[in-house]
Amino acid sequence: MSDCIRLEYDVDGDNFSSAGHASESVKRTLKQMGVSAASVRRVAIAMYEGEINMVIHAHGGKAIAEIYPERIDITLQDSGPGIADIDLAMKAGYSTASENIRSLGFGAGMGLPNMKKYSDEMKIDSTVGVGTTVYLKIGF
């Protein structure tokens, strides 16, 4: 564990303008560490989608990044409504976002599919009424 850098962020659920701060901060850190541009982009996208999901659906949450020399582990944890049908939520184009959210450019139903696309491993633990935790592993 000694060679792991741990970064933790509170994602503000009522503030769209702060969404993206965690992923931008991680992106900067990885760039400084000399991680390849392609890997940095994968991490930033997966993490940004996770942040946005927490803002749209769960009134915010926590984003934790643990950076190892060869990979990053990301944990996105919220106490939102939970996901009733994870297989359905993973389908590209499926979204429960409101019209208001869509008018901001979100809600295309690509959030979770994008997170999967850019990760090497993805796991979702969700309980309706309790919350959702998404675990991502991305190798460099």
Binding site: F16, S17, A19, G20, S23, E24, K27, A37, R41, A44, I45, Y48, E49, I52, L104, G105, F106, A108, G109, M110, G111, N114, K117, Y118
Partner: protein, 109 residues
């Protein structure tokens, strides 16, 4: 062609400036999740979407510039964030199709 020269030749409004880099391709879209997964690096991103998340997405995809089409002017939050993040934010009068043609003609992409 670099962004500064392109903005001048195209007669675009400049709402925010960034690094003067080359426009290597283009991408049109308003759904942010599509853009972050599909827009190529160093592209000119043409959109009519006007909110603060546009600047965050532009940073993520590392585009050369954002072109707000159809005379859209950025709201205060977007303009402020674009400046803070040193992202080129340009304004064009034509629709996305017309402006994409202009990018293609001037930049050869």
């Amino acid at each position: 062609m670099n962004v500064r020269e392109f903005a001048q030749k195209a007669g675009y409004a400049v709402f925010s400036e960034g690094e003067d880099r080359e426009i290597e391709s283009g991408y049109c879209g308003d759904f942010l999740s599509n853009i972050i997964s599909r827009a190529p690096d160093s592209c000119a991103w043409l959109t009519v979407m006007n909110n603060v998340n546009v600047a965050a997405v532009a940073t993520l995809i590392d585009c050369a510039c954002i072109i707000l089409c159809e005379g859209v002017a950025p709201d205060d939050a977007l303009a402020a964030r674009a400046k803070m993040q040193s992202v080129w934010l340009l304004g064009a009068k034509g629709n996305v199709y017309e402006e994409a043609k202009r990018v293609a003609a001037l930049c050869g992409v």
